[in-house]
Subunit: 355 residues, 2 copies
């Protein structure tokens, strides 16, 4: 029998098996995180691009709004900058600069590296749950996290990655299906330069059979049907991103939300154009311009740093054609803003009617 | 509540909501088809590459082995040959010819076109169900099929394709997720040159919400968990391919079966290398050789006709590195041959324990 009251609810001390994904770059305001947790799910702050000062302020803000558990999502892998092909990439970006009337694009770049500081701040502020993308915490970090009683969740896109994360000591795995919006959480880059793209229906049961810790299903899940389907496959919870991007409390730009509301299952592509790492987003003019140039993106985070100016101008002018419109493949039913608490509530009601 | 006794079981007059996929090119022997139908599912003969004589013999053989309903799967779209880039493609195939010691590869090709004859034969022999890939029957064929009381099922990879098929008069739609092995059933080629690749978890609910006829979920489903998950998403049945390729009754080459038993969720790629149409199969030497040449495949069916010799030699010598090893993304648990009836039985038992 399928139950909505799974073991992971007790482990994470949440009422419902619904986790709001930790989407870096704007959507996950403290309000969104707190509202999801207050509603009985698990809110997650997408912290990877936040300065330590901002991260501290946001964690404190979440704490003011809820006593319930929440998670902070970090990037486990923050490589050194590599701008060796910058000239070539700037050349490929020239049409984008032209269309946005950026006359003197930046020429000197440096990516911030807050990874270690962000992690230490989470411990200092007693964040109850840390989740990671692009790999596991380092052995030292894992030991420190465990010493602080922090629960650790890592995203995996293949069974091998899940086995590796389990061996590293994580408490649960997010199985990220190919449907998922945003960055592919893969960390087996050599085998999968565009990220492993295994559909969730295939990924979850195979992962569940090979590891002993709980699996959280992610990718293309927007309603109670997807929740029950994931539980049938052996997952203990779901992680939902795109539907929460469109939440009233989300910090996503109105034009980004509208692009999601206007999109369907055919709208997205997986691209390295924005950040240098493969990510699924709604296809737009920027992706078409950069990909048609035929130039390889710089590695992450350098490419992300270089395109920041373009994304900044797009945000300022409300131009979705040059924003990164991360979204999964199940956006057809997402047509207007909803309160985060209503999303949790509606998903649970629909799920309860099915089990 | 989720029920295994769905409306489509009554429509197709089957006991269980499990359809064995109509895989052209060998796996679907009359024995396999008949055994699946006898076990309470729906067997499907993959007829697209069969001569009319062979198709007649196989349909009669199925009839001898079962009184239960079965389906015949046809390709709805059989384009004219186009060998205009043959020289270039033969050049790209040269390393494959060399490795297989094919000294004088064919130079004059013609693809058979049995589509219309196959269809008429199905009517003549009162085949109860016709399913199609790559689009719908023509309006004339649809009218003739309906006049004969034949049920028609069409595969769709996007909601738009499903809506088009419903408007054409089909009785049910197979929603083919990106996880699925074999050819992408897409027929919106202009938008999706590699076939639309929407994960099943995202595709099924979006399709179910937009059409009124039953949806059959396909792609990465190998067990009762996938069956129940599909029903939770709103499908009324599942179509299973890869697990039946490994059935004792399957006509797949032993080396092909073994390649499936040795594979996992990371093993497959979507490629046009074999047929000119995008299809998911286990990555092997042939795919690597052809793709590394950087030459575009000829269109289907011409490319398929040209590579037939290579696949023929591979089959004769039992060399899986040059066979088309079509397989979905959920092969980890498939490790040995099973009787087709046992597959149906085990899937149902596992599903019954979940609902």
């Amino acid at each position: 029998m399928i139950t909505l009251n799974t073991d992971i609810c007790r482990l994470l001390e949440i009422e419902f098996p619904i986790i709001q994904a930790g989407m870096a770059g704007g959507p996950t305001t403290p309000q969104l995180v707190a509202q999801v947790s207050e509603a009985g799910g698990l809110g997650t702050l997408g912290a990877a691009y936040l300065t330590p000062e901002k991260l501290r302020a946001e964690i404190l803000s979440i704490r003011e709004q809820t006593d319930k558990p929440f998670a902070v999502n970090l990037f486990a892998d923050n490589p050194q900058d590599d701008f060796s092909r910058l000239t070539e990439v700037q050349e490929a970006l020239r049409p984008a600069y032209a269309e946005l009337s950026i006359e003197q694009p930046g020429s000197s770049f440096q990516s911030p590296d807050y990874g270690e500081e962000q992690f230490r701040l989470c411990l200092e502020l007693d964040v109850p749950i840390i989740s990671t993308a692009f790999g596991c915490l380092s052995p030292e970090q894992m030991k420190a996290a465990k010493g602080h009683g922090v629960l650790v969740i890592t995203m995996a896109t293949t069974v091998a990655e899940a086995i590796e994360a389990q061996a590293a000591g994580v408490d649960a795995i997010v199985a990220q299906g190919s449907e998922a919006g945003g960055h592919r959480g893969s960390f087996s880059y050599e085998q999968h330069p565009m990220g492993a793209q295994v559909g969730l229906m295939a990924l979850v049961p195979q992962m569940v059979d090979e590891i002993t810790i709980p699996v959280i299903a992610a990718g293309g899940i927007v309603d109670g049907r997807g929740l029950v389907a994931s539980l049938a496959l052996g997952a203990q919870a779901v992680q939902v991103g795109t539907r929460f991007v469109g939440a009233k409390e989300s910090g996503a730009h109105a034009a980004y939300k509208q692009a999601i509301f206007d999109s369907n299952e055919e709208s997205t592509v997986v691209t390295k154009s924005f950040s240098g790492r493969p990510a699924r987003g709604i296809n737009n003019r920027f992706i078409e311009l950069f990909e048609s140039a035929g130039t390889k993106a710089l590695p992450f985070p350098s490419h992300n740093t270089v395109t920041k100016e373009i994304r900044g101008v797009a945000t300022k002018t409300g131009n979705p054609e040059f924003m990164s419109l991360w979204a999964g493949q199940a956006t057809r039913k997402l047509i207007r803003e909803e309160r985060a608490a209503d999303i949790v509530d509606l998903m649970m009601k629909q799920a309860q009617a099915l089990v």
